[in-house]
């Protein structure tokens, strides 16, 4: 059942974004930013963790899940370190995914040919 819920919730989050892409003038980049901020808001009020419990990767893999990780990280950092956590929490918790994308992205730029030149 876990797989079905992951499929349905993950699919639904993607479907909503597709409707926004087709029906509004929002660009892909704006939708990504919107999803992350929405994830921070939903994670902040404590709703998103229910979705994660319910749908697993269906909730963590879409970018709203990235926002939720940021909200959780900020909360944890403040609980552990006090006010400094307001500033350290977001980037600390986002570092895994962002670090992977930047490191892999950079290595890819060393290996692969510029596709515009073809």
């Amino acid at each position: 059942m876990d797989y079905l819920y992951a499929f349905l919730v993950g699919g639904a989050l993607c479907a909503v974004a597709q409707i926004l892409l087709d029906r509004t003038k929002l660009t892909a980049a704006r939708i990504l930013v919107g999803y992350v901020v929405a994830g921070v808001a939903l994670g902040g009020v404590g709703l998103y963790e229910y979705l994660v419990d319910f749908a697993g990767a269906g909730a963590t893999v879409p970018l709203t899940g990235f926002g939720n990780v940021i909200a959780e990280g900020v909360r944890r950092a403040i609980d552990e370190r006090g006010a400094v956590g307001i500033l350290t929490g977001a980037l600390t918790s986002a570092s895994g995914g962002v670090g992977a994308a930047l490191v892999f992205g950079f290595i890819a730029s060393l290996i692969f040919k510029d596709r515009k030149q073809k």
């Binding site: 993950g10 893999v61 500033l87 995914g97 730029s109 510029d114």
Partner: protein
Amino acid sequence: MTEEYKKYTVRHAPKSPVVKDTLRAFLCGGALCAAAEGLKNLYLFAMMSRDDASLITSVTLVFLAVLTTGLGVFDSAARFAGAGLLVPITGFANAVAAPAIDSKTEGYVLGVGAKIFTVAGPVILYGTVSGALYGAIYYLWRIFS
């Protein structure tokens, strides 16, 4: 006559691209998330903690998205799947790798170094700002409750 014609046009009109696009995004995005769930269970089976398994799943998806971007496969897949590949972390990874690869000719500092943040920059900025805003609210709430 006009009724007949209306029925005719409805029957023969191409299905709305929005419906087709949305269905594709739903199926592809859903399938990707279900596969990621399987990957996560695999990592959990390898004795990773829940948080780590979730993170390494994301890292694996980022790696695959960057690799397929470099090989030129991601773009064609994304043309089909639309938001189904864009909204998962694969879309973020593609948005990091694609401008980095394509700006090599502009050099490694102001080319790759700057362009790698074309989409990652806004995402990181607004993620950090909204996180800090939430943190400030949470901090005050903790003091007064």
